[in-house]
């Protein structure tokens, strides 16, 4: 069932090509397979430049809070709660990177500290304004994944 919805979504997305309202895969319909999330969440190619901004921004990805990244050595304060992301694209392919960013708990364990950026599996007492909302939009995830894809050694 899940997969069917997903395929239909992708087909529609293709039909509409780059239209901004191309149907997105809903956060609870993302298909995590053994190979990761193999299809784009939006059907619109990710933009690595926008992805880098989302990655840095404290209001959006704030990925630097937990990950050092030499590609952004101009930015102050890289955390080390998670591993360095230098060369991350050599370690994981695109579907796996998409899965890690969308909901890392599907890839690592439930215990991971890394938040799920496109997931509705959230903690208790969720801020009222955020009910049903994900940290990043589907396109922002695609952009971040495209950016991560540039991190090769």
């Amino acid at each position: 069932m899940r997969r069917m919805k997903f395929t239909l979504g992708a087909v529609t997305a293709l039909a509409l090509s780059t239209a901004a309202f191309a149907s997105e895969v809903a956060p609870d319909a993302v298909d995590f397979t053994d190979d990761g999330v193999t299809m784009s969440l939006t059907g619109v190619a990710g933009d690595p430049v926008a992805g880098a901004e989302t990655f840095k921004s404290r209001k959006l990805g704030n990925c630097l809070a937990c990950h050092a990244n030499s590609d952004m050595s101009g930015e102050l304060f890289h955390g080390d709660v998670g591993p360095e992301l230098d060369g991350v694209a050599d370690r994981w392919d695109e579907p796996m990177l998409r899965a890690i960013v969308a909901n890392s708990k599907q890839i690592f364990t439930d215990e991971t500290i890394m938040p799920g950026f496109y997931s509705l599996e959230v903690g208790a007492h969720l801020n009222e304004d955020l009910v049903g909302k994900t940290i990043l939009s589907a396109q922002q995830v695609e952009d971040v994944v495209a950016y991560l894809g540039t991190l090769k050694e």
């Binding site: 591993p83 690592f108 938040p115 903690g123 909302k133």
Partner: protein, 282 residues
């Protein structure tokens, strides 16, 4: 799917290990006005860590130095304001704290090291802030102070400062303290908010690491109210609420059952550390 990717996890762990910025808490000792502080001690039984460590050990050298020196410590102004309030008459009974408790240096010594304690009247743990309100309403005929207002933080800082250097030690055998400890433990390990993080995610699992510019400590409470160089005097429940807000969750009310349970449990996690009030943090 989930646990198939052990190889990836191992790889991630290997990279984390080779990271450049892992920083141990410093090897340094703290004396305030000649009084030695215990900033590192063996953890009580049943504690997740072997050693409990004061947040002081995780701060930069300049921040640590400000706490060493009571003349420089801006939190001492709050302590002085608290002393004034201690001696100020308020309420219909024409009394001040000093009317009943006299010299705080004697009567309040050790109090700050042993709270929260069991309050049979309310059937709950009581902290210093609520004890102040209890005495105001029941003894002085004065209004309860609202959270963080009317000198609540200053009086609390003044009372806790009378225990400077004394080791934190709770009596969990009184009343239902043990079940509040359990409830607090549940709160500590419950993931909250959109970021789905528990206190333990940051202060236990990631303790010693950097989250952006912040060196994560064990989240100990022995220095509260604390003076934060970037935002001033900060009460304990304000800090709890701030950390919970940062997970993008609704903030529980100050002195709510959840936060009283949390205060009980987290205070126990710092058993043996010296009271540092008013501590200095970033």
């Amino acid at each position: 799917m989930k646990r198939l990717l052990i190889a990836g996890v191992v790889l991630a762990a290997a990279f984390a290990g080779s990271g450049p910025v892992w920083a141990e808490p410093v090897d340094d000792t703290l004396e305030i006005d000649g009084v030695p502080m215990v900033t590192r001690t063996k953890a009580p039984e049943g504690h997740p860590f072997d050693e409990v460590l004061s947040g002081w050990l995780f701060r930069e050298a300049e921040t640590r130095d400000v706490e060493r020196d009571t003349i420089e410590n801006p939190g001492m102004i709050a302590v002085e304001d608290g002393e004034t309030l201690w001696n100020t008459v308020d309420g219909t009974q024409g009394k001040s704290c000093a009317s009943c408790h006299n010299d705080a240096a004697e009567t309040m010594k050790g109090v700050g090291a042993s709270f929260p304690k069991w309050d049979a009247d309310s059937g709950k743990p009581i902290n210093i802030e609520l004890q102040i309100n209890k005495c105001r309403t029941e003894q002085m005929g004065a209004e309860a102070l609202p959270f963080n207002k009317g000198g609540q933080q200053e009086l609390t800082a003044y009372i806790k400062h009378q225990s400077l250097g004394m080791p934190v030690e709770l009596d969990l055998s009184e009343g239902d303290m043990q079940s509040w400890w359990e409830k607090g433990k549940d709160v500590y390990y419950t993931r909250t908010g959109q970021l789905n993080l528990a206190c333990a995610s940051c202060h236990e699992v990631a303790m010693g690491k950097f989250i952006r510019a912040d060196h994560l400590s064990q989240g100990q409470v022995n220095g509260f109210p604390t003076y934060r160089l970037k935002s001033g005097l900060t009460s304990l429940h304000q800090r709890f609420r701030g950390c919970i807000r940062d997970t993008r969750a609704e903030q529980p009310k100050a002195f709510s059952d959840d936060l009283m349970a949390l205060e009980t449990y987290v205070t126990w996690r710092g058993t043996g550390l010296s009271v540092e009030t008013p501590s200095v943090r970033q």
